[in-house]
């Protein structure tokens, strides 16, 4: 078990070396795919083992080894900070070098004055296991996808191929994510945190255009700010609690007044670090900028790695903040992000931007759940983390495929896509439905979130408004891609087989996750949620109660059921009916296809109904576009308002501990 785990961690390192060493593109691609498949297999094995053993792998080192390793890791961190400074100075952008310098000073201070050790630096519990598995399953899939994607991408772009660097960075990214998930020593966590920041910086500026460099630096600036908060938080916690173990920190309980409480301030700083990485308002800009990167990178950042690390940290701290004022503020911040991002997404017609805003919104919802801090909410947060990662990974890859075929990422250009790319469009549609409607996981978690947020009206209002706006932008999109004129002759897509395989695999994963939501919760999460909230009397009011594969309930204090959801089979039946009834009807009475009605001004005999007779007998094409409400939801005033409110919330969060 532990051996497998070590293998899992070392495999990306092997992949990194291989992809940098092998020069021949074919051989390199083969190596990348092979290593990815191995990571996938190892990840699944570790996951299965952890579920069977009811315990994750944990690796203990002798005191001396741990000391040496800590030294190495700190050294790596220092190197990293210097690298950031060098990058910034070279491009004459001084914000991130400045923050990196600040971090360096704090790191020195920490090394000299406060240096407690942990006895179990690498330890995987259920929550880490979720993050680990997400990275270990979706990461390799994205790598396999990019083996096909990057080839076409570079062919479009021209110039010298830098794919080996690309794969190298992604492997490094995965390596850092695995260790980040497994670290119990918060200093180690901090180092891997910085590695993911730098990796995403490198990936975003991969195309080396002016825009991508600018956005990459924005990412670096904001995340360096987060890192700065992180190291400050670590110093405070190690000085006042004398521990750097994440699990010990999670056992802290903030009692009494928060004011003047340095431990609380430390926790707040860690939360802010989590917020920056999870692209919460007001730190969301970097994630929007990150979409200039090649699509696999966006998929990686949005689904399983970068942002999930931030969310992971906040969920970890959930038991500490639950039931306190701090918890309410975190919930408000998350809820506000959920609402604001959903509102702004309505005015977007760029598919990747819509996805980016939706990611921000969902991360907000996760953090909101973590802030609410009941057992049900904590469960919902972790479940949403899983569902969001899978669905969003799939959606990004599908949009990437579409973009390569039609040459645009504008939603308006996706009209009639079902005819051109039936498979990818179906994948996209399922992805959208899985983000929006029952019986899929994301909606279930939204449901739990609303029921858990009942006792805090402000958060409740944010969630309700946010979820209404979510319907708006998803419904518009799915309406566009489902547009078609008649019984079309579907074209065969010529996407590369590896991209197709990955999309189908993710599609299967989305369906499986939603079908086995109960199993996932029971086997992996229940003991964690119960354990984490053990000492917390506040969290007793609602808890998740999942009986078998398809039945989910929320239970109140007295054990009576508050609500239930047992409809997976019913939904399956309905989907079958939706296809079966038309088929039956078509047997008795067939359809006559007629063009749509244009007020009688249809031109020609084409049953697709494309042309109409305009003024002065000019034949014109029918073009119908969506509403985007740019005047209302796309205005700068609104964006600025959201930004200032969210900054206010962050300031309040810091303020209550002073």
């Amino acid at each position: 078990m532990n051996l497998l785990f070590c293998l899992l961690i070392l495999l990306p390192a092997a992949g990194l070396t291989l992809s940098l060493v092998i020069r021949d593109p074919r051989a390199r691609n083969a190596a990348v795919i092979a290593v990815s498949a191995l990571i996938l297999a190892a990840g699944c094995a570790v996951g299965a083992g952890a579920i069977v053993n009811q315990a994750g792998p944990s690796i203990a080192f002798s005191h001396k080894t741990a000391h040496i390793l800590s030294g190495c890791i700190t050294g790596a961190d220092v190197l990293l900070l210097f690298f950031v400074m060098w990058c910034g100075v070279r491009k004459r952008r001084y914000t991130s070098p400045f923050l990196a310098g600040g971090q360096f000073v704090l790191l020195l201070f920490f090394e000299i004055y406060a240096r407690p050790e942990t006895d179990l630096p690498l330890f995987v519990d259920q929550l880490s296991l979720v993050l680990l598995l997400l990275a270990a399953v979706i990461g390799p899939l994205i790598l396999i996808f990019s083996a096909g994607y990057m080839h076409v991408h570079e062919a479009h772009k021209g110039g010298k191929s830098r794919q080996n660097v690309f794969y190298g960075i992604i492997f490094a990214f995965l390596f850092a994510m695995f260790l980040l998930a497994a670290s119990d020593n918060i200093c180690w966590l901090y180092t891997f945190w910085e590695i993911t920041t730098v990796c995403s910086f490198l990936l975003i500026q991969f195309d080396k255009t002016e825009e991508s460099v600018r956005n990459a630096f924005r990412t670096l600036d904001l995340n360096m700010l987060g890192g700065f908060c992180f190291i400050s938080g670590i110093i405070l916690l190690s000085l006042f609690c004398n521990t750097v173990s994440l699990h010990d920190i999670c056992k802290l309980r903030l009692a009494g007044s928060l004011s003047g409480n340095f431990i609380a301030l430390g926790i707040v700083l860690l939360c802010i670090a989590g917020f920056t990485k999870a692209a919460m308002f007001p730190f969301h800009n970097w994630l929007l900028g990150a979409m200039v990167a090649p699509t696999p990178v966006s998929a990686l950042l949005h689904s399983s790695t970068m942002v999930k690390a931030g969310v992971y940290l906040v969920i970890r701290l959930c038991p500490v903040i639950s039931g306190t004022t701090l918890g309410s503020i975190v919930a408000a911040a998350g809820g506000f992000t959920f609402m604001a991002a959903s509102v702004l997404a309505v005015s977007q017609s760029n598919a990747k931007k819509v996805l980016a805003y939706s990611t921000i919104a969902n991360l907000g919802l996760i953090i909101c759940c973590a802030g609410i801090g009941t057992k049900a909410a904590l469960g919902a947060a972790i479940l949403l983390m899983i569902f969001h990662a899978v669905s969003k990974g799939m959606l990004f890859l599908a949009v990437g495929t579409i973009e390569q075929t039609i040459g645009s990422r504008n939603i308006e250009d996706m009209q009639g896509l079902l005819k051109k790319m039936p498979f990818t469009t179906a994948v996209t549609a399922v992805g959208i439905i899985s983000m929006l409607l029952p019986p899929f996981g994301v909606l279930l978690t939204k449901w739990i979130a609303i029921e858990a947020a009942v006792w805090s009206p402000l958060v409740l209002m944010f969630i309700i408004l946010g979820s209404a706006f979510t319907i708006v932008f998803w419904a518009k999109w799915i309406g566009i891609i489902s547009t078609m004129s008649y019984k079309p002759r579907y074209e065969r897509e010529n996407t590369l087989p590896c991209m197709r395989t990955v999309l189908s695999a993710l599609l299967g994963l989305v369906l499986l996750c939603s079908c086995f939501i109960g199993f996932i919760y029971k086997a992996v999460l229940e003991s964690y949620v119960e354990g984490a909230m053990l000492f917390n009397s506040y969290s007793e009011s609602l808890r998740l109660d999942i009986n078998d594969m398809s039945v989910i309930r929320l239970s109140g204090i007295t054990g009576d059921t508050v609500g239930g959801f047992a409809v997976m089979a019913v939904f399956l039946l309905i989907f079958i009916l939706m296809l079966f009834i038309p088929w039956m009807v078509s047997k008795t009475k067939s359809e006559i296809i007629r063009p749509p009605y244009f007020g009688g001004e249809l031109y020609g005999n084409d049953i697709r109904g494309i042309d109409f007779m305009g003024p002065k007998d000019k034949v014109e094409q029918v073009i119908v576009r969506n509403y985007y409400f740019r005047g209302v939801f796309g205005s700068d005033t609104l964006a600025r308002l959201f930004l200032s409110v969210s900054i206010g919330i962050i300031l309040i969060m810091v303020g209550v501990t002073l």
Partner: protein
């Protein structure tokens, strides 16, 4: 089945198209929908959408410009459907019949079922035409059902998989 047959005449939804009329007939048509005459007693609804309509009421003579639109509307209506020509112009071309731009009455273009003469006809006459049209609708529905049944049976005999490609005519 029998109920459906019966209902075919119980809810005549109309669409009204003004081909080339002087608006005299149009006003009378609208008048027949007003509370005084209350066409909705017979289930009449002015839907304004050929895809929903059963009865096409045309006023005015057909000219070369309006012909295309008239044919378009007719083609988009699902059967069983009926055409009513309201007014002298719609029936024969009226006083405009010899004009250079006029094709003639509606029956030059579409198979007219009911003619309502008059310049302009009274609302009572138009209502009467609509009620007559409902009888025609029932009749046409019977024909349609018979034709469909025959067609499906023929297809089943030829292709046991069913009438998927039925009625491509």
């Amino acid at each position: 089945m029998k109920l459906i047959q019966k209902a075919a005449g119980k809810s005549p939804w109309i669409i009204h198209y003004d081909c080339n009329s002087c608006n005299g007939c149009d006003i009378e048509i609208l008048a027949s929908l007003t509370p005084i005459y209350d066409a909705e007693r017979f289930g009449v609804v002015n839907v304004g959408n050929p895809k929903h309509a059963d009865i096409l009421i045309v006023s005015g003579s057909v000219n070369y410009r309006s012909r295309r639109v008239l044919e378009n509307i007719w083609r988009e209506m699902p059967g069983p459907k009926v055409v009513i020509a309201v007014g002298a112009c719609a029936c024969t071309g009226g006083i405009f019949s010899d004009c250079y731009n006029i094709i003639g009455g509606v029956d030059k273009v579409l198979p007219v079922d009911i003619y309502v003469p008059g310049c302009a006809p009274k609302p009572e006459a138009i209502l009467d035409a609509v009620v007559r049209a409902t009888e025609k609708l029932v009749h046409k529905r019977e024909e349609l059902a018979a034709r469909q049944a025959e067609h499906v049976a023929k297809l089943r005999a030829k292709d046991p998989k069913g009438g998927r490609n039925a009625e491509k005519q």
